[in-house]
Amino acid sequence: MNPPVPATPLIVADSPAQPTPSAEPLAPPHAGPAGQPLLSVRDLVVRYGTTTAVDGVSFDIHAGETVGLVGPSGCGKSSTAAAVLQLRRPHSGEVRFDDVDLTALDERQLRPVRQRLQPVFQDPYGSLSPRRRIRDQIAEPLRLHGRWSHSAGPRRVAELLDMTGLNPALGSRFPHELSGGQCQRAGIARALANTPRLLILDEPISALDASLRAGILNLLLDLQDGLGLSYLFISHDITAVRHLSNRILTMRDGRLVR
């Protein structure tokens, strides 16, 4: 097993406000290979009709760890992400998260689990509703899981905006009034609303231009330091993956190689 690569923040940032994680900095609780993994994927198979997109993939992610997943387009990275998130039910295999096999749960049973397992998507505009204000979209997971109250709700939204380096004034805007980087930060803020443990980052920076990428990567690193998050970081940008990841998995034709 590879030793964790020390994460050094890049200098460039795209946002006027610097990301300031609110929680006191914790030492990332890197549980060694010996500890219980947070996510354990075994023999995952995803099929679209007769095509097999993911063919027997197995990997673990430990608490506080970032696992990079790289590979050419169409190799099954995003299908793996969708199957881990149970957005596309895998054909076979096991997705064990917090010691619960998600493939055995029905949609209703999955809902509480989903709070702790959140995606960040590639398209910053497409993953937000075009007809709702940013702050309402960030508040939605709170409302959805009954964590909204008139006093604490808006405070939490403000905190999330602050954590992701967004000016609180942007909360009243609509997605089309924001930049791509700002939308991606809003998407991350929404993912963080219910204090998840694992984020599935599916090409989170691919749709952004280079200067914004560093800002988002730094934000992700800061958030990980502050909140002890684990990441599955999917990208075809090997430099970004190296920068962020403790371990790197390479996929080709639906299988992990090396």
Binding site: L85, L87, E107, R108, L110, R111, P112, V113, R114, Q115, Q118, P119, F121, D123, Y125, G126, S127, L128, S129, P130, R131, R132, R133, R135, D136, A139, E140, P141, L144, H145, H150, G153, P154, V157, G171, S172, H176, G187, R190
Partner: protein, 574 residues
Amino acid sequence: MRATAARAAALTAVLALTGLLPWLSGTDPALSLLRARSAEQEPTPEALAAIRTDLGLDSGPVALLGRWAAGLLHGDLGVSWVSGTEVLPAVLAGLQVSLTLMGAAAAVALLTGAALAAPAALRGRAGTGTAAAVLAALPEFLLALLLLITVGVWLGGLPTSGWTGPAHLVLPALALGIPAGALLGRLVAEALPAVLEERWVELWQGAGTSRRYVTTAALRRALPPLVPQFAMVAVGLTGGAVAVETVFAVPGLGRTALGAAKSQDLPLLQGAILALLTLGLLAGAVGSAVRRRLLGPALRDASLTLPTARPTPVPTAVPVALGAVLLTTIGWGLLREPYAIHTTARLAAPSAAHPLGTDALGRDVLARLGHGAVPTIGTAAAVCLLAGLVGLLLGFLPDTATGFADVTNALPPVVAGIMVAAVTGPGTGAAALAVTLTAWPPLASHAAALTQEVRASAFLTAQRAMGASPLWILSRHVLPAVAGPVARHAVLRLPGTALALASLGFLGLGAQPPTPEWGLLLNESADYAERAPVAALAPAAALALLAALAVTLAAMTTRRRTTTSQRKSLSLAR
């Protein structure tokens, strides 16, 4: 699969209904037949019973339907009750005429539509203005009458009745094609600006892509949701053909159907309706095939994002002014006596005593217009509300709804009106029923198309990942995205609905005399257009005003709705 089952069920129902027309008919066909065959024969019970036995009306619905279906399979549509000739040749002859007329009308429609959509496509300008909206809302019978009066009677030069040469095609094709083309152009012109504001357009322009290429691509993106409505416009031509053929005395299928319904020649009516239905079904099938072809895998793979449509602002003064004119006229007319007959003042020109003149019986036109607003607009509003709700509900069961809608869509209100009138006899209720039956599918298919596309958009995946239940997604995201446009669409269809009711009235299938319903009013006064032009133009102008009012109102209600919903979400967040 479910759509196919629903389609089969709906088609069977309509066919069975058509086959059972002689049995369902509330008025005794034997009696009207006896009158049609020989005027002097007494309607004795024996004579009527003989006719019933002769037609097989006494053998019960199942046997009747079975015989009709068996004949249908052999290409035998039966024998006309009135003329005693084979139905099939008459239907085929009518079909040939109607298809020629519809082809010419489609060409007119494409030209009109292209001309109206051009400013939006070339300059990205929103909407096509009120004039185009009114043109789109103008019913074929109204345009046909106006053309008949202005070109045919006053200007001369073009034949206004019959079917003996290409010159006879001009006026009917214009009357049928212009409203359809205005609707097409308007739909495209309203869909384009939202698409042209999408980011990829900027990207392509920045990359130096030619304007023509960008416009083509934007059209390609704007068209798929509109294709079902295009198909419906094509179906509308079959209904419009009934009115236009009647006005210009063209021996087409529509006129055949109307004549058959009025003389209770049910075998001929069955044959004509079958042919009209087939035409409509074909148009619908082509429409959905084109839409699937245009959208392709994007619908399946949940990778389609929506262009967020932004309504074109309309100055508040426009609908206020239109409404004020209409309400003043109606209110003024309501204070007057609509049924009083002044035999000394028939077809009088406008004067202090009769501000809009009098009709052929010497009744006050202004009074009749005012009192006619209640049956015309009131019925239409009720029909719209009902159709909007049904459409919204069925839009969420896209498969079932599409199946039923494909069949009901193939029935323009006029054809449905002919069928309902053949069963219940003509009347306001029959007309309202026929229009409701045919008014929901456009709304349902609009709702279904929007639902399908919202469901295919990426942010709903994020919603599912968040743990949102289907009900949450439906009520918070899908419904708000769908209900607004569908409600707007329903309001937009108010003039269309009122005019559909009016066209049934005009054809004698709706409200009956002496009700001053506007379609009936127009029909009654049109005959005297040369002697009393104001009386003829008053109901026409009222219908056009109503169309303009509803269209401009629709734009306003949209704007208001978005601002209140934004305010609400603001206070929630606080």
